[in-house]
Amino acid sequence: MTVKPFSPIDNLLAQHRAEIGQEWVSDVMALWGRHYPGLVSEDEVRQQTSRLLDELASAFAGHSGVTPPQIASDGALAASARELSMRRAKAGFKPADTAQYVLSLKNVLTGRLIRELSEVPADLATCLAAVDDVLDRLSLLTFEAYVEAREKVIAQQSVSLMELSTPVIRLWEQVLMLPLIGVIDTLRARQFTESLLEAITRYEASVTIIDVTGVPVFDTSVAQHLMKTVDAAQLLGTRIIMTGISPEGAQTLTKLGISFSKVTSRATLRAGVAEALQMIGRRVVVVSGAGK
């Protein structure tokens, strides 16, 4: 006779699947409906739980042996769990709420097992341990998938943010402006340097204003990125005006021994613009009779 220490679980899932599913769905909807009203449909949850339960049941049904069934990472159970997680991640669910999904099932199963096997504590212990084992692993799997999906979303968002946040602006016929905002890392630096060089070439810009008001931290690495950008731009013949260095930034840069040679530095953007205009032989004047 084959050993089937987990047959109570098998039976439970075979005979009471619908009820277990219903209980599970209500618990989940109670939680998610509260935190994410309108974001999840009960039908969707019902479908997913039903599929997961089916796969969980087959895992236990075909299984014999003293250790609980493994969850094959390329198996149907794992795939369903992952898919579910990724949906939640894309929808912006919090990590804990996603993990709770599997834990709710654990509660339901545990509750029923306790009722069923209260007379047989040894069997109960074995089955509870198995439920713990399998569902904990499933939980971890869903969590991993969630994290992976979230990181993908964040990566995509930062690419868009990056493109949005360093546009090259054509201020005047031969004057470009590059407003830098936020953290400057190698990737961003490369991106905005390329954009700048393209723009210099396209518009034959003779002056470029690089505004760093929005750069929070000026350290060696930021300065080096900037110096590369400045050097490259100067090779194309444009003159550089740097604006927006803060008093703290000025102190930090100097103490680090960094200086931008052949770069005109101005504290405010408007001083930089005035300077740029002068470089191209233009000036802002009051037009007599104008103004409403």
Binding site: T213, G214, P216, V217, T243, I245, S246, P247, E248, G249, A250, Q251, L253, T254, K255, S259, S265, R266, A267, T268, R270, A271, G272, A274, E275, A276, L277, Q278, M279, R283
Partner: protein, 136 residues
Amino acid sequence: MKIPILQLGRILLVSIQVDLTDTDAMQFQNDLVNKIAATEALGVAIDITALDVVDSFMARLISDTASMARLLGAEVVICGIQPYVAMTLVEMGRDLIGADCAFNLEQALKILNGLIALRGDSTLNSGDDDGRSYPF
């Protein structure tokens, strides 16, 4: 000891009269850069007439102060270097000061005004009521 910073139009004047400790030096640089930013100063004159000895620490201090001021868009002129101080500076090493120099304060102001006149932003008014806001 706090070094006073005087304002003459869009030009700031400082006079370093005593040897500075590390802390005094940092305080001075901090005060000056903040004042340059706040007043949108176009020029800074650093007068060291009263210093009869300038060692590498003080030379570095003056040089760094000039660099910081320039990063904030101000022209910088050092004035009042005593002849024997000039001699020792040169004997110790090259370009320890790293800024334009003038004989005295009057010359320094002339040079500053000349440099400022060449700038594109010399006719801009300084500071609005909302001032300059650094988000950080």
